[in-house]
Each structure stands twice: as structure tokens, then as C-alpha cells.
Assembly symmetry: C2
Homo-oligomer: 313 residues x 2
């Protein structure tokens, strides 16, 4: 953990040759046929199934990508056993050499924000010392509460060589309800973006990038290009590829000249590829084969149609 988050990340992206983040959002209703039935039909059983599914996904993708992103909601929904499953899956991802983003969109102020930051990114007080507890590499956060809601996360991330991703322009249809409101001549999301730039200025790595990244949806390509230009050394975490409708061409503008600077997430489109007609026809019950192929197809698509192709050399 001795290197800056983005320096570690870029090294890993160069090693695997792509900017793909495999999103693990284990919706129980979408697990492959028969998967849930291998576990007891109770709360702990479903939680164990979510854990096992995530670990099997990780075993398939670990040598091909640099990162995975866990959607906390699906684990939290099953209570304490859900968190046990999340923790075990995070540990498995780290053992397999993956960088782990927890998508929790946490937000609070002062010592409460610090508790989230210490818990997920840093160390918590235990006895007379401090020990890591979740120890993920990066956390998504929501900045509605302003600077006091963000700086505790940045402080802990800087100390621990971890990262944060602030929601700036999300990928959903109603994202603009508030994010597009225009104040002082620019939309709210640009105000948040400007703060992200400022918050990150004192925490640059050797690659020149800040540990404070931004979440910017691929489903709004014009705004994605605009934000790449406005935030030249800010890492963009880009959801929306695939299932949500964005294509590699929509995402091309998210990268810097070296093919770096953007992480492209795909959750359902990879983990539940077996549901998509093209993969179903080819792979049938072999959901793992569908995952492997969907991931390779995404990697190839980004390499062919975005600057991320430069990572492949």
C-alpha cells in the first residue's frame, strides 16, 4: 500500500491492458438458474449464495481486469449475514490481486464521515491501537453535505493511499432533476466537479492524478466529454456501459491521451451475461462461459473504439 492510489491503479491497468471494472451487484433474482437452490432457503443461505456468486465471478475475471466494484446494497439487504458475505468476498478479491471499489455512496459530516472513512478505507481504534476493518481501496461518496462531508474521507484516503469517487453526474434518467439546475451560470454538477478538482489538488500521485475521482455516467456523452476537459487530472468512474445503453463510442472522450484516466464499469452486462439472448444461445447453462465471453467482448470493444486501446501494447 505504499504507492498513491492512482499510481497503483494505473500500473494495474497497464498490466491487464484495459480500463474495465467488473461490477458485482448480486441481485438474488438474477442469479443463474439453480444457483440459489444450492444454499439453505433462509437469510444466511441467500447471503452465502451472494458471497459464493461473487467469489466465482472473481475467479473468472481476476486475471483479466484490474478492479472490481461491489454494490453494497445487495449485501446490506440481507442484514449481518449479508455483510459477512460482502466482507469475505472483498477479502477474496484482494487475495486475487484485484483493486476493490465499494459502491456505498456514503455521506455524512465530521466525525461520522470519519467513522465511515476509517471503517472502509482506513483503520479503526481497537484496544490501544488502530486496525483495518474493511480495507477496501476506494469508496463512492455523495457530496450533498458539502466540504465537511467530503474532507474526512479525503484525509483518511490520503493517509492510507486509498481513493474516493464523488458522485458528480450520475447515469440515470432523472439525474438532472437536481444535477442540471443552473446556478451562477453553470449546472450543479459543474459546481460539484469544480469542488472535486479543488479537493483533490493536494493529493496528487506521480502520474499527476488526484485520489479524488468523480462518478460520471456514460449515458450523457456530451457531459462526459465536458467533464473530462474540465477535470484533466481527475479519475472518472464511468457507469452506464452496456445494459444502461451507453456504447464504447459514447465513452471514448472519457480517457486522457494515454488511454488512462477513466474506469468503465459494467455490472449486469458481464455478471448476468447468461440472460442476454446472444450469450444464452451460445453458452446455454454455462453462465461462467457467458461471463468470460462478455468480459472479453467488452475489453475488445473498448480497445477498438476508445483511447484505452493504447493500454494493450
Amino acid at each position: 500500500m505504499s504507492a498513491h492510489f492512482v499510481d497503483r491503479l494505473f500500473a494495474a491497468m497497464r498490466r491487464v491492458g484495459n480500463p474495465v471494472v467488473v461490477g458485482i451487484d448480486p441481485r438474488p433474482e438474477e442469479l443463474p438458474p439453480g444457483f440459489l437452490e444450492r444454499f439453505p432457503a433462509d437469510q444466511s443461505g441467500v447471503a452465502a449464495a451472494l458471497g459464493q456468486f461473487g467469489r466465482e465471478i472473481i475467479d473468472i475475471v481476476a486475471t483479466h481486469v484490474a478492479l472490481v466494484k461491489f454494490q453494497s446494497a445487495f449485501y446490506e439487504a440481507y442484514g449481518p449475514p449479508g455483510f459477512v458475505a460482502l466482507h469475505e468476498t472483498v477479502e477474496h478479491a484482494k487475495r486475487m490481486g484485484l483493486i476493490v471499489i465499494l459502491d456505498g455512496k456514503r455521506n455524512d459530516i465530521g466525525s461520522t464521515a470519519e467513522a465511515y472513512a476509517r471503517g472502509y478505507l482506513g483503520k479503526v481504534p481497537i484496544g490501544g491501537s488502530f486496525e483495518p476493518c474493511w480495507n477496501v481501496d476506494a469508496l463512492t461518496i455523495n457530496a450533498y453535505l458539502g466540504t465537511e462531508g467530503v474532507t474526512p474521507f479525503i484525509k483518511v484516503a490520503a493517509r492510507e493511499n486509498k481513493g474516493v469517487f464523488v458522485l458528480v453526474r450520475t447515469s440515470n434518467r432523472s439525474a438532472g432533476d437536481f444535477q442540471d439546475l443552473v446556478a451562477d451560470g453553470k449546472p450543479l454538477y459543474r459546481h460539484v466537479a469544480e469542488r472535486v478538482r479543488l479537493w483533490g489538488q493536494s493529493s496528487l500521485g506521480q502520474e499527476g492524478y488526484s485520489l479524488v475521482g468523480a462518478v460520471v455516467g456514460a449515458t450523457y456523452p456530451t457531459q462526459l466529454a465536458e467533464l473530462r476537459a474540465a477535470l484533466p487530472k481527475v479519475l472518472l468512474l464511468v457507469p452506464g456501459y452496456g445494459t444502461q445503453g451507453a456504447t464504447s463510442l459514447d465513452i471514448a472522450s472519457a480517457f486522457d491521451d494515454d488511454g488512462l484516466g477513466a474506469l468503465v464499469n459494467n455490472s449486469r452486462g458481464i455478471t448476468f451475461a447468461y440472460e442476454r439472448p446472444a450469450y444464452l444461445a451460445r453458452f446455454g447453462d454455462d453462465w461462467q462461459g457467458a461471463v468470460r465471453q462478455a468480459l472479453q467482448d467488452m475489453i475488445d470493444d473498448l480497445a477498438a473504439n476508445t483511447p484505452a486501446g493504447k493500454l494493450r501494447v
Copy 2:
């Protein structure tokens, strides 16, 4: 659970005669002297201490107030054992007849938001049926993602007779960084407030109040009065009393003519009252006595200086 959330809530507030929410934010560093030392000096031990502290607080306050609010961050920071402690403490609060708010400020979209909503407020799929998992009465949420980030919570809350509280104007100093930006002639927090009013219109209880409440800090009394007027049948959850500097006079405008419509939270000021010089001088090592007295003092203060006094009759 057969009555609308606000109807149940108002009945409970009339029964106890006050609008106080005891906030349980178990910072390990602030536990009474010697408390942590009763538990093993490891992650599970600290988590168990947080659970025990919450349960002892509940035993002191349960006959005096209608609600408690748990700050999720302090439990989450200790990983799966922290969630076990939170779950056990929530269960204890419900057994003691308290209405439980989970302060998690959750936010996401679509089926992910639905997973949070089902998990915390509703029921999750297990085997062929649906079962409650956390089963709290209300959850705080953050609306930065727009309507799609809020309606899944409202839908589940409506079905289950639960409530949500949307962050509108928070109590911290930097709240205005984004919340005060003026678009179309009014600040962002008023745009969020207007949506809160609209989102709640189809879910009114017999008291005329909506299940969609708003978080509005007591530390901005002018805006609190303004929002009470703008949102006449929206429940306000008001943090900031006491430790954060707001007084009962600042909060008086948050209530409706019946002394209802507002919930006043106090966390540290009650649970860690033993740290405050006045209570320390009087109670010394008896931290439970300090809790009891600080709660009574707050109840009396609100009764004397706000319309909530009407609840006492």
C-alpha cells in the same frame, strides 16, 4: 404495523408528550470510562461494546421518548460484527416499543435503491417468499440522484407503513456549499423541498402528513421556519440541538399548531452527557444518571419554549 407511519408516530409522541429523538451514535472514544474495558480488545469486542452501550441507553430512555435514531456509520466501521451489534440493538429498541430511525443517508437508483429499501424498511426475497430483515421504521436518504433515487424507497415505505427522511437542509457549516446555490430564483434546498412535497402527496396518513419527511438542521433557524411554511404537512427531522449549538428557541418554528410535525434529535448531548461539565459535576461516574437528567432537561426545555409543550397536556 397496520397504521400509516406518521399516524403511529404522532400517537407515540402524544403518549410520551414530547418530540425528542434520542440519537445513538456510539463513538468508541466517547464511551464512559471503563466501558470498553469490559469487552475483549478486538474487533468483535468493540462491536459488542457498541451494542451493549446502545441497549443500556435504550433501557434508560424507552419510557420517556417515542423514538431512537441509530447512526449506521459507527456500527459499519467495525465490519460484520458491527452490523450484528446494530441489528441486535435495533431489535432491542423495537422490543422496548420504540420507533426506530436508521440514519444511513442511503442513495442509489432503480433496483439498487429498491434493495436498500426492501432490506431496511421492507422484506427481501428468501426461498419462495419475502421476509423482513432489518425492519426499521424509517431511513434517512440523500436525493442527489433525483426522483429515480427516491421513489423506490417511497414505494416500499408506502407498502410497509414505514417512513423516509430526505436530506433537505443539513445542520453543518458547509451545508450551503451546494444546498444554497440559487437556481431559477431559489436555493437548491428549496428545489429538493419542493420535490419532497410532491413525492409525498400520494402517501398521506389520517393526520394529513406524508410518509416522506425532510431533514432540516436546527442550526439554520430562518430556513427551518421557511421550510415549515413551505412544507405544511411534511414531517421535519431536526438535528443540531445541543452540541451543535441550536437552542429550543431556534427550533420553535419547526412545529405545527398542534405541537406536532417536528422531531428533534439529540445524540451526544444525551448519550454522552457525562462529558459535559454540569452533568459531570453532579453525576460523576454515574453516566446513566447524566443521560436520564440530560434527557429530562431537553424535554422540559422543548416543552417550555416550543409548541411541543402542547403534547404534554
